[in-house]
Symmetry: D3
Subunit: 112 residues, 6 copies
């Protein structure tokens, strides 16, 4: 994993941990929501995390992309699926989605 990517991921996790101390009830509700949204079903957890990252692409949220691509990789998600999802992101988001789809692919390849 590239050093910058690792550090930025740690930074997101640390900020989220501090937020969780400040509003624990809100974050634990979100964790329940999030666990339910990405549990195995008709779609696999890996694909679901890739889709969450794709929503991060159209929302132009780089740290969201990083966070969910990291989770997707832990679930063994494939680059080919990501690539196809990025095409849909471009269809629905135009030029700005191209910029963040490019960031997403670079982050995916940088994650070990």
């Amino acid at each position: 994993m590239s050093e910058t990517t690792t550090e930025e991921l740690k930074s997101v996790q640390q900020r989220t941990a501090i937020l969780a101390q400040a509003i624990p009830g809100v974050l634990s509700g979100f964790k329940r929501l999030s666990d339910e949204a990405t549990k195995p079903g008709s779609l696999s957890p890996g694909l679901k995390e890739l889709i969450a990252a794709t929503l991060g692409v159209t929302r132009l949220c780089e740290d969201c992309i990083l966070f969910h691509l990291s989770a997707a990789k832990r679930h063994g998600a494939s680059r080919q699926e990501l690539v196809e999802l990025l095409g849909i992101a471009v269809e629905m988001g135009g030029g700005p989605a191209i910029v963040y789809a490019g960031k997403a692919l670079k982050i995916f390849d940088a994650l070990s």
Copy 2:
């Protein structure tokens, strides 16, 4: 309450109920999150619901405005506080926020 406003509120509630049957775990996590976010604290639940409605204004989400203004009214939130919040929404959202701030004020006045 004006008839249109009442019907649209019911419509939002019905659609959300059907969604809750489809993804109960996700919605129950969200309910926990939402209850925690609007519980009494330094800020009152009424003001918190007004602020949620204000976030709906800058997000251009009319049903969100309706839903949260209805909750704000149940908590006895004041029109003056709403009006001041709409000013901040205009500062942060420009022209589109003016359009939805106008909708918000009309909805607030239509809710009995």
Copy 3:
């Protein structure tokens, strides 16, 4: 002008007038801002209003589109310029921009 378009335009204007009574200082600051932003310069007021409407397209704000296209027509803005601007909106906004660009063109043609 088609009846629906006329009524919706009136409705936006009425809601904005009520908002202006509630937060007159905020709205008068915005009016100053808005007058300055669309005054004659290197670009004409008509083109500037078309561009404001185009920003309404990518922001998915139908009433914004209506409001600014109405102003653009009063300044004699051309359909050809609108059409070229809508192409840029599609480039920068993808599928959702196509939906609202279609609405914009229909509104422009409906305005007398």
Copy 4:
């Protein structure tokens, strides 16, 4: 298919056809983009259209949801997959995504 849903779908298609006459080159480029983005691959066209609709949910674009759910149905996409995708939309979009996820489910059920 419910009458309102059918009419709204026709309305989107008509507005898009008029836009395509105005900027044919832009729309034909978009059609190429769109066809490529949703062609069969690791993910099926039906699932890809559901994902496009999900991006419409977080973008709060009701006509986008309608357009892509209609395409998804033509490809035989399943309600269970939609439902799981809506959970991810809620995770990434909060309250406003709940409102539009509810609309999406209602539209899917209304489409024959």
Copy 5:
């Protein structure tokens, strides 16, 4: 105040000053709007600036957060109020709002 935070705040202020030289009328209209929106009323200026920062959280605008939290601190706004507002931001913005709420809390703590 941490050095990075100080420098970034200065950078925002410098860029805004250069913009104000280029379009003085627009920016002076905005200043009027902004002063009116955050003046003392039912809600205090400090709380109003925190709310502006919260709108910056759901808009994913880091410099907006920095700018308005700095103003909030000058007005003596409390961390507890910010924390409660961030909970509402998460309710209305989902995962991306968590990322920027984490940034907001870090910035607030870094501001002296």
Copy 6:
């Protein structure tokens, strides 16, 4: 051209090239769309690229601003036109648009 601006522009171009290898059909459709949207017409290519950059301002997409301002400069677009467009962006985008309008002006002046 300032070194940072040059490097960031190269970085956007490299990421987009890698994306184009991954989804060539999608990107070639987008290129067609984009070429059509910015070709000479009633509005010049230079002005059209400035308008694309302005849409990047209200979308809060810094790399989009950089990419389209660079193209605008190649077409000989004028600073005065950009400045007037930024005023419209502020009208339609409020505070966050001021932040990104400031970035846009700085980028334009940094591009040789």
